[in-house]
Amino acid sequence: MTSASPDTIAGANREALRRILASDPVLVDVQLARDAIPRLPDRTILHAGPPIGWDRMCGPMRGAVAGAIVFEGWADDLDAAARLAASGEIRFEPNHHYDGVGPMTGITTRNMAVLVVENRAFGNRAFCTVNEGIGNVMRFGGNDREVIERLQWIASVAGPALGAAIRHRKGIPLKSLIARGLSMGDEMHMRNAACSSLILRELAGDLADTARSDLSRILRFIAGNDMFFLNVAMAMAKSIAAAAHDIPHSTVVTTMARNGTDFGIRVSGTGDHWFTGPAQMARGLLFAGFCEADGNVDIGDSCITETVGLGGFAMAASPAVVGFIGAGTLSDAIAYTHRMREITVGTNADWALPTLEMAGVPTGIDIRKVLATGVLPVINTAIANRLPGRGQVGAGVVHPPLTCFEQALIRFAEMNGADA
Protein backbone atom coordinates (compact mmCIF):
# COMPACT_ATOMS: atom_id res chain seq x y z
CA MET A 1 0.00 0.00 0.00
CA THR A 2 1.32 3.45 -0.89
CA SER A 3 0.55 6.57 1.11
CA ALA A 4 -0.38 9.89 -0.38
CA SER A 5 0.56 13.17 1.24
CA PRO A 6 -1.34 16.37 0.46
CA ASP A 7 1.62 17.36 -1.76
CA THR A 8 1.45 14.06 -3.66
CA ILE A 9 -2.27 14.49 -4.17
CA ALA A 10 -1.82 18.10 -5.28
CA GLY A 11 0.75 16.96 -7.86
CA ALA A 12 -1.55 14.21 -9.15
CA ASN A 13 -4.41 16.69 -9.41
CA ARG A 14 -2.23 19.15 -11.32
CA GLU A 15 -1.51 16.32 -13.77
CA ALA A 16 -5.25 15.61 -14.11
CA LEU A 17 -5.86 19.30 -14.83
CA ARG A 18 -2.95 19.37 -17.26
CA ARG A 19 -4.44 16.49 -19.24
CA ILE A 20 -7.86 18.15 -19.32
CA LEU A 21 -6.38 21.41 -20.55
CA ALA A 22 -4.06 19.71 -23.05
CA SER A 23 -6.88 17.67 -24.59
CA ASP A 24 -7.57 18.18 -28.28
CA PRO A 25 -11.04 16.75 -28.99
CA VAL A 26 -12.01 16.39 -32.65
CA LEU A 27 -15.31 15.10 -34.01
CA VAL A 28 -14.04 12.50 -36.47
CA ASP A 29 -16.98 10.34 -37.55
CA VAL A 30 -20.49 9.02 -37.09
CA GLN A 31 -20.65 5.24 -37.09
CA LEU A 32 -22.90 2.45 -35.94
CA ALA A 33 -22.11 1.60 -32.33
CA ARG A 34 -21.15 -1.96 -33.30
CA ASP A 35 -18.42 -0.57 -35.58
CA ALA A 36 -17.29 2.25 -33.31
CA ILE A 37 -17.21 0.02 -30.22
CA PRO A 38 -16.29 -3.49 -31.46
CA ARG A 39 -16.17 -4.86 -27.90
CA LEU A 40 -19.86 -3.98 -27.37
CA PRO A 41 -21.52 -7.43 -27.05
CA ASP A 42 -24.75 -8.51 -28.73
CA ARG A 43 -27.91 -8.42 -26.64
CA THR A 44 -26.38 -5.68 -24.53
CA ILE A 45 -28.03 -2.37 -23.75
CA LEU A 46 -25.91 0.54 -22.60
CA HIS A 47 -27.66 3.06 -20.36
CA ALA A 48 -26.94 6.35 -18.59
CA GLY A 49 -25.49 6.52 -15.12
CA PRO A 50 -24.00 3.91 -12.83
CA PRO A 51 -24.90 0.19 -13.12
CA ILE A 52 -28.57 -0.69 -12.67
CA GLY A 53 -30.82 -3.68 -13.37
CA TRP A 54 -34.31 -3.74 -14.85
CA ASP A 55 -35.89 -4.13 -11.41
CA ARG A 56 -34.68 -0.70 -10.20
CA MET A 57 -35.03 1.26 -13.44
CA CYS A 58 -37.34 4.29 -13.53
CA GLY A 59 -40.23 4.65 -15.99
CA PRO A 60 -38.41 6.52 -18.77
CA MET A 61 -35.47 4.09 -18.60
CA ARG A 62 -37.75 1.07 -18.87
CA GLY A 63 -39.61 2.66 -21.75
CA ALA A 64 -36.38 3.33 -23.61
CA VAL A 65 -35.08 -0.18 -22.95
CA ALA A 66 -38.27 -1.72 -24.36
CA GLY A 67 -38.02 0.53 -27.40
CA ALA A 68 -34.36 -0.35 -27.95
CA ILE A 69 -35.20 -4.07 -27.86
CA VAL A 70 -37.83 -3.57 -30.56
CA PHE A 71 -35.40 -1.36 -32.53
CA GLU A 72 -32.81 -4.16 -32.47
CA GLY A 73 -35.42 -6.77 -33.45
CA TRP A 74 -34.90 -8.82 -30.29
CA ALA A 75 -38.68 -8.74 -29.68
CA ASP A 76 -41.65 -8.01 -31.93
CA ASP A 77 -43.53 -5.61 -29.68
CA LEU A 78 -43.12 -3.57 -26.51
CA ASP A 79 -44.84 -6.08 -24.22
CA ALA A 80 -42.57 -8.88 -25.39
CA ALA A 81 -39.63 -6.50 -25.08
CA ALA A 82 -40.45 -5.73 -21.44
CA ARG A 83 -40.74 -9.44 -20.66
CA LEU A 84 -37.37 -10.06 -22.33
CA ALA A 85 -35.78 -7.19 -20.38
CA ALA A 86 -37.10 -8.63 -17.11
CA SER A 87 -36.01 -12.18 -17.99
CA GLY A 88 -32.31 -11.60 -17.39
CA GLU A 89 -31.41 -12.44 -21.00
CA ILE A 90 -30.46 -8.84 -21.77
CA ARG A 91 -27.24 -7.46 -20.37
CA PHE A 92 -27.36 -3.92 -19.00
CA GLU A 93 -24.20 -1.87 -18.66
CA PRO A 94 -23.34 1.81 -18.26
CA ASN A 95 -22.29 3.74 -21.37
CA HIS A 96 -19.26 4.79 -19.35
CA HIS A 97 -17.95 1.20 -19.33
CA TYR A 98 -17.58 1.49 -23.12
CA ASP A 99 -16.13 5.01 -23.37
CA GLY A 100 -19.61 6.26 -24.11
CA VAL A 101 -22.20 8.68 -22.81
CA GLY A 102 -25.86 9.31 -23.59
CA PRO A 103 -28.32 12.06 -22.57
CA MET A 104 -31.28 11.29 -20.23
CA THR A 105 -31.96 7.52 -20.53
CA GLY A 106 -28.80 7.33 -22.62
CA ILE A 107 -29.83 4.07 -24.27
CA THR A 108 -27.27 2.84 -26.80
CA THR A 109 -27.34 -0.46 -28.73
CA ARG A 110 -25.24 -1.98 -31.48
CA ASN A 111 -27.22 -0.68 -34.43
CA MET A 112 -27.65 2.90 -33.29
CA ALA A 113 -25.52 5.65 -34.80
CA VAL A 114 -22.94 7.24 -32.51
CA LEU A 115 -20.84 10.37 -32.80
CA VAL A 116 -17.14 9.59 -32.52
CA VAL A 117 -14.84 12.13 -30.86
CA GLU A 118 -11.11 11.54 -30.79
CA ASN A 119 -8.92 13.24 -28.21
CA ARG A 120 -5.92 13.70 -30.46
CA ALA A 121 -3.63 14.76 -27.63
CA PHE A 122 -4.00 11.37 -25.96
CA GLY A 123 -5.32 9.08 -28.72
CA ASN A 124 -8.50 7.95 -26.96
CA ARG A 125 -12.00 8.00 -28.44
CA ALA A 126 -15.44 8.60 -26.91
CA PHE A 127 -18.96 8.06 -28.21
CA CYS A 128 -22.46 9.44 -27.92
CA THR A 129 -25.67 8.76 -29.80
CA VAL A 130 -26.98 11.40 -32.23
CA ASN A 131 -29.50 13.77 -30.64
CA GLU A 132 -32.98 12.78 -31.82
CA GLY A 133 -34.66 16.18 -31.39
CA ILE A 134 -37.28 17.16 -28.84
CA GLY A 135 -40.60 15.68 -27.71
CA ASN A 136 -41.33 11.99 -28.28
CA VAL A 137 -37.78 10.61 -28.29
CA MET A 138 -36.02 7.60 -26.77
CA ARG A 139 -33.89 9.66 -24.43
CA PHE A 140 -37.12 10.54 -22.59
CA GLY A 141 -38.35 6.94 -22.73
CA GLY A 142 -40.26 7.22 -26.02
CA ASN A 143 -40.64 3.90 -27.79
CA ASP A 144 -43.47 4.02 -30.33
CA ARG A 145 -43.24 3.63 -34.10
CA GLU A 146 -42.33 7.29 -34.63
CA VAL A 147 -39.35 6.96 -32.27
CA ILE A 148 -38.13 3.67 -33.73
CA GLU A 149 -38.44 4.88 -37.32
CA ARG A 150 -36.53 8.06 -36.52
CA LEU A 151 -33.72 6.04 -34.96
CA GLN A 152 -33.64 3.79 -38.03
CA TRP A 153 -33.41 6.85 -40.29
CA ILE A 154 -30.59 8.29 -38.17
CA ALA A 155 -28.73 4.96 -38.30
CA SER A 156 -29.23 4.32 -42.02
CA VAL A 157 -29.40 7.78 -43.62
CA ALA A 158 -28.50 10.78 -41.43
CA GLY A 159 -25.70 9.08 -39.53
CA PRO A 160 -23.84 7.80 -42.60
CA ALA A 161 -24.29 11.19 -44.29
CA LEU A 162 -22.93 13.04 -41.27
CA GLY A 163 -20.06 10.58 -40.98
CA ALA A 164 -19.14 11.06 -44.65
CA ALA A 165 -19.30 14.85 -44.33
CA ILE A 166 -17.13 14.85 -41.19
CA ARG A 167 -14.57 12.52 -42.78
CA HIS A 168 -14.67 14.62 -45.98
CA ARG A 169 -13.36 17.61 -44.02
CA LYS A 170 -11.04 15.43 -41.89
CA GLY A 171 -12.79 16.13 -38.64
CA ILE A 172 -14.09 19.16 -36.78
CA PRO A 173 -11.88 20.48 -33.94
CA LEU A 174 -14.17 21.09 -30.99
CA LYS A 175 -12.15 23.02 -28.45
CA SER A 176 -12.27 26.26 -30.42
CA LEU A 177 -15.92 25.68 -31.35
CA ILE A 178 -16.80 25.44 -27.65
CA ALA A 179 -14.87 28.66 -26.97
CA ARG A 180 -16.96 30.45 -29.59
CA GLY A 181 -20.14 28.93 -28.20
CA LEU A 182 -19.36 30.19 -24.70
CA SER A 183 -18.95 33.70 -26.08
CA MET A 184 -22.32 33.34 -27.84
CA GLY A 185 -24.32 32.34 -24.76
CA ASP A 186 -24.07 28.54 -24.69
CA GLU A 187 -23.04 26.65 -21.57
CA MET A 188 -23.17 23.36 -23.54
CA HIS A 189 -25.59 21.51 -21.31
CA MET A 190 -29.00 23.19 -21.34
CA ARG A 191 -28.15 25.71 -24.05
CA ASN A 192 -26.53 24.61 -27.28
CA ALA A 193 -28.22 26.99 -29.70
CA ALA A 194 -25.01 28.70 -30.80
CA CYS A 195 -22.89 25.59 -31.24
CA SER A 196 -25.71 23.72 -32.99
CA SER A 197 -25.81 26.56 -35.50
CA LEU A 198 -22.03 26.74 -35.78
CA ILE A 199 -21.63 23.03 -36.47
CA LEU A 200 -24.39 23.11 -39.07
CA ARG A 201 -22.51 25.95 -40.77
CA GLU A 202 -19.32 23.89 -40.58
CA LEU A 203 -20.97 20.81 -42.06
CA ALA A 204 -23.48 22.14 -44.59
CA GLY A 205 -21.10 22.37 -47.54
CA ASP A 206 -19.59 18.95 -46.90
CA LEU A 207 -23.05 17.42 -46.48
CA ALA A 208 -24.01 18.89 -49.84
CA ASP A 209 -20.93 17.27 -51.35
CA THR A 210 -21.37 13.85 -49.75
CA ALA A 211 -25.03 13.17 -48.86
CA ARG A 212 -26.52 10.52 -51.13
CA SER A 213 -30.14 11.23 -50.22
CA ASP A 214 -32.37 13.22 -47.91
CA LEU A 215 -30.06 16.26 -47.85
CA SER A 216 -32.85 18.73 -47.13
CA ARG A 217 -34.28 16.49 -44.39
CA ILE A 218 -30.86 16.13 -42.76
CA LEU A 219 -30.27 19.88 -42.84
CA ARG A 220 -33.72 20.55 -41.36
CA PHE A 221 -33.16 17.83 -38.76
CA ILE A 222 -30.07 19.64 -37.46
CA ALA A 223 -31.40 23.16 -37.95
CA GLY A 224 -34.63 22.34 -36.11
CA ASN A 225 -32.94 21.15 -32.95
CA ASP A 226 -31.16 23.62 -30.67
CA MET A 227 -29.85 20.66 -28.65
CA PHE A 228 -28.23 18.88 -31.60
CA PHE A 229 -24.79 19.88 -30.33
CA LEU A 230 -25.40 18.57 -26.79
CA ASN A 231 -24.46 15.04 -27.81
CA VAL A 232 -21.33 16.30 -29.56
CA ALA A 233 -20.37 18.22 -26.43
CA MET A 234 -20.98 15.13 -24.31
CA ALA A 235 -18.77 12.86 -26.43
CA MET A 236 -16.15 15.61 -26.40
CA ALA A 237 -16.34 15.95 -22.61
CA LYS A 238 -16.07 12.19 -22.19
CA SER A 239 -12.96 12.09 -24.39
CA ILE A 240 -11.40 14.75 -22.14
CA ALA A 241 -12.46 13.27 -18.79
CA ALA A 242 -11.22 9.82 -19.83
CA ALA A 243 -7.75 11.26 -20.46
CA ALA A 244 -7.64 12.42 -16.83
CA HIS A 245 -8.80 9.08 -15.41
CA ASP A 246 -6.58 6.54 -13.64
CA ILE A 247 -3.94 8.91 -12.31
CA PRO A 248 -2.66 7.44 -9.02
CA HIS A 249 -3.30 9.67 -5.99
CA SER A 250 -5.59 12.04 -7.89
CA THR A 251 -8.84 13.09 -6.20
CA VAL A 252 -10.27 14.68 -9.34
CA VAL A 253 -13.74 13.53 -10.42
CA THR A 254 -13.69 11.98 -13.90
CA THR A 255 -17.29 10.79 -14.11
CA MET A 256 -20.63 12.13 -12.91
CA ALA A 257 -23.72 10.32 -14.20
CA ARG A 258 -27.29 9.39 -13.24
CA ASN A 259 -29.53 6.51 -14.26
CA GLY A 260 -32.85 7.96 -13.07
CA THR A 261 -32.55 6.14 -9.75
CA ASP A 262 -28.94 6.57 -8.57
CA PHE A 263 -26.31 9.26 -9.01
CA GLY A 264 -22.79 7.92 -9.46
CA ILE A 265 -19.32 9.41 -9.58
CA ARG A 266 -15.91 7.97 -10.37
CA VAL A 267 -12.60 9.48 -9.33
CA SER A 268 -9.30 9.46 -11.21
CA GLY A 269 -7.28 7.81 -8.42
CA THR A 270 -9.81 5.17 -7.39
CA GLY A 271 -10.07 3.25 -10.66
CA ASP A 272 -13.40 2.23 -12.13
CA HIS A 273 -15.28 1.97 -8.85
CA TRP A 274 -18.63 3.80 -8.73
CA PHE A 275 -19.68 5.78 -5.67
CA THR A 276 -23.44 6.10 -5.69
CA GLY A 277 -26.32 7.69 -3.83
CA PRO A 278 -29.94 8.56 -4.53
CA ALA A 279 -30.49 10.80 -7.55
CA GLN A 280 -32.16 14.08 -6.58
CA MET A 281 -35.11 15.99 -8.02
CA ALA A 282 -34.00 19.07 -9.94
CA ARG A 283 -35.29 22.44 -8.78
CA GLY A 284 -36.33 24.79 -11.52
CA LEU A 285 -39.15 25.68 -13.86
CA LEU A 286 -41.82 23.24 -14.93
CA PHE A 287 -43.60 23.66 -18.24
CA ALA A 288 -47.26 24.75 -18.15
CA GLY A 289 -49.58 21.98 -17.03
CA PHE A 290 -47.01 19.96 -15.05
CA CYS A 291 -46.31 19.69 -11.35
CA GLU A 292 -43.29 18.34 -9.46
CA ALA A 293 -44.93 14.93 -9.10
CA ASP A 294 -44.80 14.57 -12.89
CA GLY A 295 -41.00 14.77 -12.92
CA ASN A 296 -38.50 11.95 -12.69
CA VAL A 297 -35.47 12.33 -10.47
CA ASP A 298 -32.21 13.31 -12.09
CA ILE A 299 -31.22 11.19 -15.11
CA GLY A 300 -28.56 11.09 -17.84
CA ASP A 301 -24.85 11.12 -18.60
CA SER A 302 -25.05 14.75 -19.72
CA CYS A 303 -23.37 16.04 -16.55
CA ILE A 304 -20.13 14.85 -18.13
CA THR A 305 -20.21 18.47 -19.40
CA GLU A 306 -20.02 19.78 -15.82
CA THR A 307 -17.24 17.25 -15.14
CA VAL A 308 -15.00 19.18 -17.56
CA GLY A 309 -16.12 22.69 -16.58
CA LEU A 310 -19.15 23.35 -18.77
CA GLY A 311 -22.90 23.30 -18.03
CA GLY A 312 -23.60 24.63 -14.53
CA PHE A 313 -19.91 25.42 -14.06
CA ALA A 314 -20.10 27.77 -17.06
CA MET A 315 -23.49 29.19 -16.12
CA ALA A 316 -22.03 32.72 -16.20
CA ALA A 317 -21.71 32.34 -19.98
CA SER A 318 -25.39 31.90 -20.48
CA PRO A 319 -27.85 34.56 -19.32
CA ALA A 320 -30.52 32.84 -21.41
CA VAL A 321 -30.20 29.51 -19.68
CA VAL A 322 -30.37 30.86 -16.16
CA GLY A 323 -33.90 32.06 -16.81
CA PHE A 324 -34.92 28.91 -18.65
CA ILE A 325 -33.92 26.68 -15.76
CA GLY A 326 -35.37 28.99 -13.11
CA ALA A 327 -32.00 29.67 -11.51
CA GLY A 328 -32.52 33.42 -11.09
CA THR A 329 -30.71 36.32 -12.74
CA LEU A 330 -27.38 36.81 -14.50
CA SER A 331 -25.79 37.72 -11.17
CA ASP A 332 -27.01 34.39 -9.80
CA ALA A 333 -25.45 32.65 -12.80
CA ILE A 334 -22.15 34.38 -12.13
CA ALA A 335 -22.40 33.38 -8.46
CA TYR A 336 -22.87 29.72 -9.47
CA THR A 337 -19.69 29.82 -11.56
CA HIS A 338 -17.79 31.62 -8.78
CA ARG A 339 -18.89 28.96 -6.28
CA MET A 340 -17.59 26.17 -8.50
CA ARG A 341 -14.12 27.73 -8.26
CA GLU A 342 -14.11 26.70 -4.60
CA ILE A 343 -14.24 22.99 -5.49
CA THR A 344 -12.05 22.83 -8.57
CA VAL A 345 -8.32 22.44 -9.15
CA GLY A 346 -8.02 25.31 -11.62
CA THR A 347 -9.54 27.07 -14.59
CA ASN A 348 -9.50 26.52 -18.33
CA ALA A 349 -8.27 29.68 -20.04
CA ASP A 350 -9.21 28.30 -23.47
CA TRP A 351 -12.85 28.36 -22.42
CA ALA A 352 -13.24 31.95 -21.29
CA LEU A 353 -16.33 33.60 -19.86
CA PRO A 354 -17.11 37.11 -21.17
CA THR A 355 -19.18 38.03 -18.11
CA LEU A 356 -16.20 37.22 -15.85
CA GLU A 357 -13.62 39.39 -17.63
CA MET A 358 -12.69 36.35 -19.77
CA ALA A 359 -11.77 34.16 -16.78
CA GLY A 360 -11.65 30.47 -17.64
CA VAL A 361 -14.31 27.98 -16.61
CA PRO A 362 -13.71 26.25 -13.24
CA THR A 363 -12.22 22.85 -14.05
CA GLY A 364 -11.33 19.60 -12.28
CA ILE A 365 -13.65 18.83 -9.35
CA ASP A 366 -11.63 17.79 -6.28
CA ILE A 367 -13.61 15.53 -3.92
CA ARG A 368 -11.61 16.92 -0.98
CA LYS A 369 -12.71 20.46 -1.76
CA VAL A 370 -16.32 19.38 -2.11
CA LEU A 371 -16.20 17.80 1.33
CA ALA A 372 -14.16 20.55 2.95
CA THR A 373 -16.49 23.30 1.77
CA GLY A 374 -19.80 21.48 1.61
CA VAL A 375 -20.24 23.03 -1.85
CA LEU A 376 -21.69 20.45 -4.24
CA PRO A 377 -21.20 20.58 -8.02
CA VAL A 378 -24.04 22.41 -9.75
CA ILE A 379 -25.66 20.70 -12.71
CA ASN A 380 -28.03 22.26 -15.24
CA THR A 381 -30.51 19.67 -16.41
CA ALA A 382 -33.70 18.81 -18.21
CA ILE A 383 -36.44 17.20 -16.11
CA ALA A 384 -37.99 14.10 -17.71
CA ASN A 385 -41.60 13.07 -17.26
CA ARG A 386 -41.56 10.11 -14.90
CA LEU A 387 -43.81 8.27 -17.36
CA PRO A 388 -42.06 6.84 -20.42
CA GLY A 389 -42.32 8.66 -23.72
CA ARG A 390 -43.98 11.82 -22.38
CA GLY A 391 -40.89 13.94 -22.96
CA GLN A 392 -39.57 16.81 -20.89
CA VAL A 393 -41.61 18.50 -18.15
CA GLY A 394 -39.16 21.23 -17.23
CA ALA A 395 -35.57 22.22 -16.55
CA GLY A 396 -33.64 23.11 -13.46
CA VAL A 397 -30.58 22.85 -11.28
CA VAL A 398 -29.57 19.74 -9.37
CA HIS A 399 -26.67 18.47 -7.28
CA PRO A 400 -25.09 15.07 -6.65
CA PRO A 401 -25.76 13.60 -3.21
CA LEU A 402 -22.95 14.29 -0.75
CA THR A 403 -22.61 10.58 0.05
CA CYS A 404 -20.93 9.94 -3.33
CA PHE A 405 -18.03 12.19 -2.30
CA GLU A 406 -17.86 10.80 1.22
CA GLN A 407 -17.64 7.23 -0.06
CA ALA A 408 -15.04 8.25 -2.62
CA LEU A 409 -12.83 9.91 -0.01
CA ILE A 410 -13.07 6.89 2.31
CA ARG A 411 -12.14 4.54 -0.55
CA PHE A 412 -9.31 6.85 -1.62
CA ALA A 413 -8.00 6.92 1.95
CA GLU A 414 -8.13 3.12 2.19
CA MET A 415 -6.19 2.82 -1.08
CA ASN A 416 -3.60 5.30 0.13
CA GLY A 417 -2.99 4.12 3.67
CA ALA A 418 -4.73 7.04 5.30
CA ASP A 419 -7.67 5.36 7.01
CA ALA A 420 -9.24 7.40 9.75
Binding site: R368, L371, A372, I410
Partner: protein, 56 residues
Protein backbone atom coordinates in the same frame (compact mmCIF):
# COMPACT_ATOMS: atom_id res chain seq x y z
CA UNK B 1 -13.76 45.97 22.36
CA UNK B 2 -16.30 46.51 25.06
CA UNK B 3 -19.22 44.41 23.96
CA UNK B 4 -21.75 46.32 26.02
CA UNK B 5 -21.21 49.35 23.74
CA UNK B 6 -21.33 47.32 20.54
CA UNK B 7 -24.84 48.28 19.60
CA UNK B 8 -24.62 51.92 20.59
CA UNK B 9 -22.97 52.99 17.33
CA UNK B 10 -23.90 52.11 13.73
CA UNK B 11 -24.00 48.34 13.29
CA UNK B 12 -22.41 46.79 10.23
CA UNK B 13 -22.64 43.02 10.05
CA UNK B 14 -20.76 40.17 8.42
CA UNK B 15 -23.10 37.20 8.49
CA UNK B 16 -21.61 33.71 8.14
CA UNK B 17 -23.60 30.59 7.38
CA UNK B 18 -27.38 30.83 7.42
CA UNK B 19 -28.47 33.41 4.85
CA UNK B 20 -31.82 34.06 6.52
CA UNK B 21 -30.12 36.03 9.32
CA UNK B 22 -28.66 38.36 6.68
CA UNK B 23 -32.01 38.71 4.96
CA UNK B 24 -33.65 39.73 8.24
CA UNK B 25 -31.04 42.45 8.74
CA UNK B 26 -31.46 43.64 5.16
CA UNK B 27 -35.16 44.01 5.79
CA UNK B 28 -34.27 46.26 8.76
CA UNK B 29 -31.91 48.34 6.54
CA UNK B 30 -28.85 47.17 8.49
CA UNK B 31 -25.69 47.03 6.30
CA UNK B 32 -24.80 43.34 5.99
CA UNK B 33 -22.43 41.20 3.94
CA UNK B 34 -23.33 37.53 3.75
CA UNK B 35 -20.60 34.89 3.57
CA UNK B 36 -21.63 31.45 2.39
CA UNK B 37 -20.03 28.95 4.71
CA UNK B 38 -20.72 25.53 6.10
CA UNK B 39 -18.71 23.43 8.54
CA UNK B 40 -15.87 21.44 6.96
CA UNK B 41 -16.95 17.91 6.03
CA UNK B 42 -20.46 19.07 6.86
CA UNK B 43 -19.68 18.22 10.46
CA UNK B 44 -18.76 14.55 9.95
CA UNK B 45 -15.77 13.78 12.26
CA UNK B 46 -14.55 10.78 10.22
CA UNK B 47 -14.47 12.78 6.99
CA UNK B 48 -12.88 15.72 8.80
CA UNK B 49 -10.13 13.42 10.09
CA UNK B 50 -9.44 12.11 6.59
CA UNK B 51 -9.33 15.63 5.17
CA UNK B 52 -6.82 16.58 7.85
CA UNK B 53 -4.54 13.80 6.60
CA UNK B 54 -5.17 14.18 2.88
CA UNK B 55 -5.47 17.94 2.61
CA UNK B 56 -8.10 19.78 0.69
Amino acid sequence: METDKLLQSEVRVINIGLAEFAHDLERCDVPVVHVEWSPPAVGDPRIAALLAKLGG
